[in-house]
């Protein structure tokens, strides 16, 4: 019995390891010199209470879609990376969160419901939170469930399942009304938005764009002066 178990273990684990390694190598070979690039924008109507003093409009990541390049402040190891996700959260054009996630598994989780923060000093040297998280209307957590070889990504956002091929995009504008969150249709978004502004209803647009396969050689480090 012990011998049998030993044999199974001796065969099973190496096989599993080999299988995993093979899967990894296959994935590495698929995405040897390219990766799928995804942008996720969360834009709220009134989730911020003021313009932070003297904060220039800056992103630490510069995205050039036409040239398919990313300019980052520091070097990144791109070995095995198959998915890049750029997430930014703004309100009234003020960016209060920004992330670049590079994934080797093709899966990424983003908790949009987690509170964001942008702190400025208060009059006593303490801190004032400028982000009003109650005014961020999102459907739930966002998860990139899988990345295919052709650049297609599988996304789970709240209860929705979204499949985006390279070049495709998806967006939803949610407004929080007394009756609960409601999705605004694209036909009359401007009127609806004006109404939200008038009545003080929070509204948030989550937009996802699959930018396709980008070359890893286009990921550059160092922005200025170094």
């Amino acid at each position: 019995m012990e011998n049998r178990l030993g044999v199974v273990l001796r065969i099973f684990f190496p096989l599993c390891a080999c299988g995993l390694l093979a899967a990894l190598l296959v994935r590495f070979s698929w995405f040897g010199d390219s990766y799928v690039f995804l942008t996720i924008e969360e834009s709220s109507l009134n989730a911020i209470n003021g313009w932070p003093l003297n904060m220039p409009e800056l992103s630490r990541v510069f995205i050039d879609v036409q040239a398919k390049t990313l300019v980052l402040p520091e070097k990144k190891n791109l070995l095995g990376v198959c998915l890049g996700v750029y997430y930014s959260a703004t309100s009234q054009g003020v960016e209060f969160d920004e992330r670049l996630i590079l994934s080797r598994t093709g899966r990424v989780g983003l908790d949009l419901t987690a509170p964001a923060s942008l702190v400025v000093p208060d009059i006593n040297g303490g801190e004032v939170e400028l982000v009003n998280n109650l005014a961020r209307v999102v459907a739930g957590k966002l998860k990139i469930a899988g990345t295919r070889r052709d650049g297609t990504v599988e996304i789970e956002y709240g209860s929705r399942h979204i499949t985006l091929k390279p070049g495709e995009s998806w967006a939803e504008l949610l407004v929080l009304e007394p009756g609960g969150p409601r999705a605004i249709s694209s036909g009359n978004w401007q009127e609806e938005l004006d109404r939200c502004v008038r009545l003080g209803y929070p509204a948030t647009r989550v937009a996802i764009a699959n930018r396709g396969l980008w070359p890893k050689s286009g990921v550059k480090a160092g922005i200025a002066g170094d």
Binding site: L45, V61, S169, I184, D226
Partner: protein, 908 residues
């Protein structure tokens, strides 16, 4: 009030009135504490001139930074004596403005002259004091020639990005406070509201931004800077920002943008190009227009110092801040209570009180946050500003002066348009332009010393080039004269001035710059091969023949420069010794591009040749794509090859027609040059340069040369052309002639022929019998335009008939041009050229007008040596009287001549 040091070595106050508030205090010995000399040995030279150390204005009493850092001790060890040759001055109050600050420093320096009796000083100034000192020297507030070396440490010569940030922040905060006060009642009133931003629809897509037509003129309606910024923010940029937010972040259906990093400015540039073009790209002057140069003598007011574009950027920042604050303040109490998302109706009165009470509290907390934020920001900016010694308030004029000449606006747009360079500080730019033009003739040598720390800011702020966290390296370098010196030090852990001044390398560098004579490469006489000299971008290199061994020879020095990096040139000039110091010889200065050479004739040991790499491209070079580089961050070297042709007395120069100017030295350094150490090496009695053995002298009255410069023009109004680059043409007229090229003849019977040339047409054709034909001949010119058209009616009888046709068109005249002038010339002197045109006209043609460009006689002034082509053009307006009409044509003829231009040397 000015700080007085506890002990005055020369216990004489430097002035009694408020105007003479400065005290040049001898450095107190008690300050010279614990400054280890670290094995330093004083250079061989001893101080020959007093040195004045000027710190930044400081509001607190205490030891001067020069003493604290140990520099004073080091200078003492090098031979400086406090109170005799070493003085320290620390202003106790802010300068106010560059102009008033320069007058303060002038008094300090004048008092030093009175104290020491020495009319030549070295000055070292830290931070903004360096800018004030330079302003004083450049504007003539500090007497020209008083300061020999002006050492400026960490000085924001072209402005500081921190000042720009601070000024923008102060402006935004000021306007937020105004907005908060104006809307306070509405915000806290139960039914009040701050009102919405103006409808973006009020700005049509074709709007150019509604800048008044009178902007840029003295008639511009201007109630004040704050008024103007608020007006622009409210009317243009706040509504546009509202549109930007909606379009860019909230619109449906979602269209992924090509530039996710695009900013509001980038959006305007792309979506509202007319506004961008009209308000930003073309807003290079101030709202009150270009400032006359004379205005530099007096400080400008608001509206005269910043450009229109910079005011637009300020309004942009204020507009978007106002939009955000307005959105945060939006909604009345009633709306908050009854229209909130959590609209569950409370079941009991108690629940209702709690429910609506909490809502009311939250509502007012939100409103109060706007007030608190505005007030906090005001306090923060006030505190920041007041902590800076040379600023007294956020409205300080000096803060305006320190805003950068040009700011890089972050567009965030892809395709290499990430940043846009916007002229901002017009006044500082004008000062530096003026400085550039006089950089090679001023007596004072500017020495720039600055530090560079790791560019951590570039991680979050890509616009910033290599810097010391306050000022970019390139912004610390003033417009460079050839003789100026740059030193950039690295390896500091922080930007503190103490770290820079404490650094042994910096201290040693200052001492060496003050006391050590410049290195001069001696060229061996009799050696005709090439010798290699290294030219630097940080300091001059000097070349001089070994005069002692040279005897009474004249040296024809040839300097060749290899290819240079883009944006760089090599400047070559001649310096003369006036008995006290070396000074540039006016007019003996030229910039060589890579791969070119020049000749200089040298005689007398009171002269030497200087070489240096100079920036001919922009400072703070910006590469599309996001990288902001530096021209001066590191020292650039290039080789230059020097060869000499030694001329014995009476021997020709080897360039037989080279004409060596001897005139013009009256404009020289102020006095006749003397040999350095006159009398020591037999150099006494050096006479001013005059006509020499090497050739005739342009401008020499005896020479009678027709190309002898302006004097020979006899007071005529002769056009003059200045040539710096080889691409410069003395005329831009192109050869152009109009004449008959071909005939197209339609015989009216279906047959058409084309006859090339033959301005006098004679042709025959056989017509079929019993027909009526309309014959048409059209003359075309050499540009395929119809010159004339002639027709004939032909009727034939019963037999085929041969008919002949004759017609004339335009015949070009025979024109000969002759351009006379020198075949060889020198730089810096006007050469006279005269042109002569002769022509022979065909019958029926007459000349209506003859125009010449640049003129029948004209002068050319070259600023660099080499082979140049001089072009001369004549335009003849000719009327051709043909059978039925008069045709007028304008023909242009161009001729040229080659001129070899040399850089002259100095000779007797």
């Amino acid at each position: 009030m000015t700080r007085r040091h506890p002990v005055l070595a020369h216990g004489k106050p430097m002035g009694s009135s408020r105007a003479v508030v400065a005290v040049v205090a001898a450095v107190c010995i008690m300050f010279n504490v614990a400054a280890p000399l670290g094995g330093y040995t004083a250079p061989g030279s001893t101080p020959s001139k007093p040195l004045v150390l000027i710190g930044e204005p400081a509001k607190k009493d205490g030891e001067s930074l020069w003493s604290r850092t140990g520099l004073v001790s080091r200078l003492e060890a090098a031979g400086y004596e406090p109170g005799k040759t070493l003085f320290v001055y620390t202003p106790e109050e802010p300068y106010g403005d560059l102009d008033s600050g320069a007058h303060t420093l002038r008094q300090v320096l004048d008092e030093t002259v009175n104290t020491t009796g020495c009319n030549l000083l070295d000055v070292a100034a830290y931070g903004v004091s360096g800018l004030v000192l330079r302003f004083g020297v450049e504007m003539g507030i500090i007497r020209d020639g008083l300061v020999d070396k002006a050492i400026m440490l960490s000085t924001p010569q072209r402005g500081s990005f921190v000042a720009d940030l601070l000024y923008q922040a102060c402006t935004v905060v000021k306007h937020e406070c105004i907005f908060e006060k104006q809307t306070r009642l509405a915000r806290f009133s139960p039914f009040g509201d701050v009102g919405a931003a103006l409808d973006p629809g009020s700005i049509p897509a074709r709007s150019t931004g509604d800048l008044p037509g009178s902007i840029g003129s003295g008639n511009f309606s201007w109630e004040g800077e704050a008024w103007w910024v608020a007006k622009r923010a409210r009317e243009i940029y706040e509504p546009l920002y509202s549109q930007y937010v909606q379009e860019r972040f909230l619109s449906l259906p979602y269209v992924p943008v090509d530039s996710p990093s695009q900013t509001f400015a980038g959006w305007i540039e792309q979506k509202r190009p007319l506004i961008w073009e009209n308000c930003i790209a073309k807003g290079n002057e101030t709202p009150f227009g270009a400032m006359p140069d004379t205005a530099l003598s007096g400080p400008p007011k608001a509206g005269q110092d910043f450009t229109v574009a910079y005011y637009e950027l300020l309004a942009m920042a204020v507009g978007r801040n106002q939009y955000v604050v307005r959105m945060a303040s939006a909604g009345s109490l009633a709306q908050s209570l009854f229209s909130s998302p959590q609209g569950q109706m409370p079941g009991t009165v108690k629940d209702a009180l709690v429910h609506y009470g909490v809502k009311a509290l939250l509502h007012y907390a939100k409103k109060a946050l706007v007030t608190v934020k505005a007030e906090v920001q005001r306090i923060i900016t006030d505190n920041i500003v007041s902590s800076i010694g040379y600023l007294d308030s956020p409205d300080s004029i000096f803060l305006r002066r320190l805003v950068k000449e040009e700011v890089l606006v972050n567009l965030g747009t892809s395709s290499g348009q990430r940043f846009y360079r916007v002229p901002a500080n017009y006044y500082l730019d004008q000062i530096n332009r003026r400085s550039s033009s006089s950089a090679d003739t001023r007596s004072t040598r500017f020495v720039t010393i600055t530090g560079r720390v790791s560019n951590l800011l570039s991680l979050v702020w890509p616009q910033v080039g290599p810097n010391n966290l306050f000022c970019e390296v390139d912004s610390a370098v003033p417009p460079q004269g050839s003789r100026d010196v740059i030193r950039v030090f690295t390896g500091f852990m922080s930007p503190s001035y103490l770290n820079l001044l404490k650094d042994q390398r910096v201290q040693e560098s200052i001492v060496v710059l003050l006391l050590e004579p410049e290195q001069v490469s001696q060229l061996t006489p009799g050696y005709n091969g090439q010798q290699e000299i290294s030219a630097s971008s940080w300091q001059p290199s000097y070349v001089s023949p070994a005069w002692d061994a040279a005897g009474d020879k004249v040296f024809d020095v040839s300097i060749s420069v290899p290819s240079l990096p883009e944006g760089w040139g090599c400047v070559v000039w001649v310096e003369g010794y006036d008995g006290e110091r070396w000074l540039p010889v006016p007019g003996w200065h030229q910039v060589l591009a890579g791969g070119t050479r020049t000749h200089i004739l040298l005689k007398d040991k009171c002269y030497r040749v200087g070489l240096r790499l100079v920036r001919v491209g922009p400072v703070n070079p910006y590469t599309p794509g996001g990288k902001v580089g530096s021209a001066f961050e590191s020292e650039l070297f290039s080789k230059a090859w020097i060869s000499m042709h030694v001329l014995q007395a009476g021997e020709g120069t080897g360039h037989e027609d080279v004409q060596i100017p001897g005139a013009g030295y009256d404009d020289g350094p102020g006095s006749v040059p003397h040999a350095p150490g006159a009398g020591q090496a037999g150099g006494a009695g050096i006479v001013p340069p005059g006509p020499g053995s090497a050739g005739n002298v342009p401008g020499d009255e005896d020479s009678g040369n027709q190309g002898s410069g302006q004097d020979s023009a006899g007071g005529e109004d002769i056009p003059s052309v200045r040539v710096v680059y080889r691409s410069k043409h003395t005329t831009l007229w192109k050869p152009q002639e109009t004449y008959h090229a071909y005939w197209e003849i339609d015989f009216g019977d279906g047959e058409t022929v084309v006859v090339q040339g033959q301005p006098y047409l004679e042709t025959a054709h056989i017509f079929e019998p019993s027909g009526r034909y309309k014959v048409r001949a059209v003359s075309y010119d050499n540009h395929n335009n119809v010159l004339l058209e002639k027709s004939w009616d032909v009727a034939t009888g019963g037999e085929p008939e041969v008919r002949e046709f004759c017609c004339s068109s335009i015949v070009p005249p025979a024109v000969q041009l002759e351009l006379t002038g020198p075949q060889k010339w020198v730089t810096g002197k006007h050469a006279l050229f005269s042109g002569k045109a002769t022509w022979r006209l065909p019958d029926g043609a007459r000349i209506i007008a003859v125009d010449c460009d640049p003129g029948e006689r004209f002068q050319v002034l070259w600023e660099r040596s080499g082979e140049f082509t001089v072009l001369w053009a004549v335009r003849l307006t000719i009327d051709y009287e043909l059978e039925e009409r008069v045709i007028r044509v304008k023909n242009t003829y161009v001729t040229s001549t080659q001129v070899d231009v040399f850089t002259p040397g100095i000779t007797r």
